[in-house]
């Protein structure tokens, strides 16, 4: 292989499929998404993939790159193609629609099942809630709030692969930020939703979500917080 091209293997098909191999010119600061876009625009217009913002905000472009889930728009080829070969596949643990695009329906339905949405307790006529940035619960919420819903943690999670009902790191992380929201009125229902089979107790703390989260969040720590919160609620008989 010459230094000015890169061998790229890209998954084609659905659950059943094959790898197609392409030679792509190398450029400085090239990202994995740049590579996929080059292939689609210059070598094979039929390639399906998904992206939107290209700057690490929207969470649309996650794919499996050399075996690990990555946000491709912010993943430099230099960092991951150490053998001079790039193997790009769709995210794991989600049904493949075609090529590199997966169906995210299960992922987002689990956010709903985990009651990972804000339940307001006040109206527009009330004063704004005063929450200090130094408040311990606010700090817990802030630590997990920057999730971009990219699905990297969900794809990296062994428990999701083993236990189909498992809500997954992203939904549970979002629930934990809301458990720490002083303004929220849905606490008991939320703790019920994240306890038991498929809930926070199913987490094995392998920490793949923490290792691979592109936003450097720690869903494992959030899930540990939920374990403590659900135990307290179970002992009190609240759930």
């Amino acid at each position: 292989m010459s230094n000015d091209t890169l061998t790229v293997e890209i998954w084609r098909g659905q659950e059943e499929g094959r790898f197609d191999t392409f030679q792509v010119p190398r450029m400085a600061s090239q990202t994995v998404l740049d590579i996929v876009t080059y292939v689609q625009r210059n070598l094979d217009p039929g390639l399906s993939y998904r992206f939107a913002c290209r700057v690490g905000v929207c969470g649309s472009c996650a794919m499996t790159v050399n075996g690990k889930p990555r946000w491709t728009c912010r993943t430099h080829v230099d960092k991951v193609a150490d053998e001079g070969v790039l193997r790009i596949q769709p995210l794991k643990n989600l049904p493949v629609i075609r090529d590199l695009a997966v169906d995210m329906t299960d992922f987002f339905e689990k956010w709903t099942k985990a009651k990972a949405h804000f339940v307001p307790t006040e109206t527009r006529h009330d004063e704004f809630a005063q929450v200090s940035p130094d408040d311990a619960k606010r700090k817990e919420a802030s630590a997990g709030i920057e999730c971009i819903n990219c699905g990297v943690c969900y794809s990296a999670c062994d428990t999701v692969a083993w236990l189909g009902d498992y809500l997954g790191p992203a939904a549970l992380n979002r629930s934990w930020t809301l458990v720490n929201d002083a303004r929220d009125g849905g606490q008991t229902e939320r703790l019920k939703a994240v306890a038991g089979v498929g809930g926070c107790q199913s987490c094995h703390s392998h920490q793949s979500c923490f290792e691979l989260c592109p936003k450097h969040l720690n869903p494992t720590a959030s899930i540990a917080g939920l374990k403590r919160a659900t135990v307290k609620a179970a002992l009190k008989g609240d759930i």
Partner: protein
């Protein structure tokens, strides 16, 4: 009791029994290492645990902790590797728990009886 509460309390029991087991296993291993110095005989074991109330209590706690801890872990494995549902895994868990209690206490009471 709601399924959520039952599952959460089961998880707590698994963790609490693990904490007890951590101490029991250390004592158990230490006794094995000390007891085998110069060879171990049935007579020596009978002399140590036979008729001893403290050892009877220690091994009783040990067995109860195992009987609570191991079935919970096996249940998680069954859930992740087999299509068994919640109810089925409960029965498997109860059977394993009963088996450990019966076998464990049979051994512990038998050894205690050697000192009588």
């Amino acid at each position: 009791m709601t399924p959520q509460r039952a599952e959460t309390l089961e998880w707590l029991v698994q963790r609490a029994s693990a904490a007890v087991l951590a101490i029991c296993v250390i004592v158990h291993l230490a006794v094995i290492v000390l007891a085998v110095q110069g060879g171990v005989t049935a007579k020596e074991i009978a002399g140590r645990v036979g008729g001893s109330i403290p050892w009877l209590m220690f091994y009783s706690v040990f067995i109860i902790a195992v009987a609570l801890h191991a079935p919970a872990g096996l249940r998680n494995i069954l859930r992740e590797y087999t299509p068994l549902g919640r109810r089925a895994t409960h029965w498997v868990m109860a059977a394993v728990c009963a088996l450990i209690l019966v076998m464990g206490f049979r051994a512990v009471i038998g050894l205690y009886g050697l000192g009588a």
